[in-house]
Amino acid sequence: MIAIIDYGMGNLRSVEKALESLGADLVVTSDPDVVRQAAGVILPGVGAFGDAMENLRQQGMISAIQDVVAAGKPFLGICLGMQLLFTSSDEHGFNEGLNLIEGHVRRFQGDFKIPHIGWNDLTLTRESALLDGVQNGDYVYWVHSLVVEPVDRDVLLATTDYYGEVPGIVGRDHVFGIQFHPEKSSRVGLTLLRNFVGMVREGVRA
């Protein structure tokens, strides 16, 4: 069973339906105990970083997430959910994140259109079971105004280019983050989600 954490940050329907289309066994929940019992966990979400952390805190979800990760279960953050994996963010003032991967989240800065919105291609930077069937140059759908800056570049699995390098997929052990929207990225996005579902099924500590 995969738990999708519902913490009041945007509509989770698309993520849920994409996983359902892959035949995944799912539960959408805001109950920390249900999350603890899941074989794998997805943290989706759109919105502001500070609000998101506050909601997770109030739900008692932070310790549940830590428990799941400590138990070696596959964990996937999507979009805002990926940013929350990091140490801290600049969005609307300084906020601390989950610190599952060391690094900072900052706003795009420069003389170009923000948010980074649309289809952009991936450069794969490291091998991972999450990337099975995904190729260099595959296009995925992005909508974001903030970028993550990992301390350790080894966590980068895939990047894209938008006026500089933009981390697209990160991973450390069994904790993964996807900055773009796999649930809106047609075949390529569904491949990534299928790989994650596969890891959960096999209990792989990737």
């Binding site: 698309s14 919105i117 649309g118 289809w119």
Partner: protein, 253 residues
Amino acid sequence: MLTKRIIPCFDIKNGRVVKNVSFLTNERDAGDPVELAKVYEEQGADELVLLDITATNEGRATMLDIVRRTADQVFIPFTVGGGIKEVEDIRELLLAGADKVSMNTAAVKNPQLITDGAKRYGSQCIVVAIDGKWNVEMQDWEVMINAGKVSTGLSALKWARECEDRGAGEILLTSFDQDGQKNGFDLDFTRRVSESVRIPVIASGGAGEKSHFYDVFTTGKADAGLAASIFHFKETTVTEVKKYLKERGVSIR
């Protein structure tokens, strides 16, 4: 590299696609917006725009059901427009699974709707549709509302900038001079708007052949090109348009 987007658009009335779509031969599927959306995803459409042209409350409920079914079965982003009057309408559509909402007349009449929508749900899901028509006296493109029936005296360029300032995430720009003519997008209008805002501009109105998309992405500086009948009537397909653009060096998925 970020690609230019090809966006098929279709009108929906009482839950059915309004124009007959020739390539869906099965009678039952021909008018089903969800079936059509799936075909377009298959062809490589980058996004979809679903325009609700129903006026009744029953129609609104049917539309929400279509949005739900589309979100369940189609895994590319889609925008829903038509009939949005207040923030609550935005909320309903987003909850049903729309990725973005598009507002036109309501945004002109009540610009606060853009501000409130963007503040509450984020700029990324607020699209303002601007219908513009060249006005000789103004020597400018004038914003038209109520499906082009009412002129506003507003400059489309100024209005586009105001929309951006209020938090709109994208502009869906339709040229009323070109719409339905099939002899190309209004390149001058598109370029002028695209150069005066820092949010993406989706060009609409006038696509009649593949080369028109090339022109609007290069000369017109559009970020995306939207069309309806050129795709519905199988004059060309999304796949063919994208192949044509790719061969000419346009960044395309």
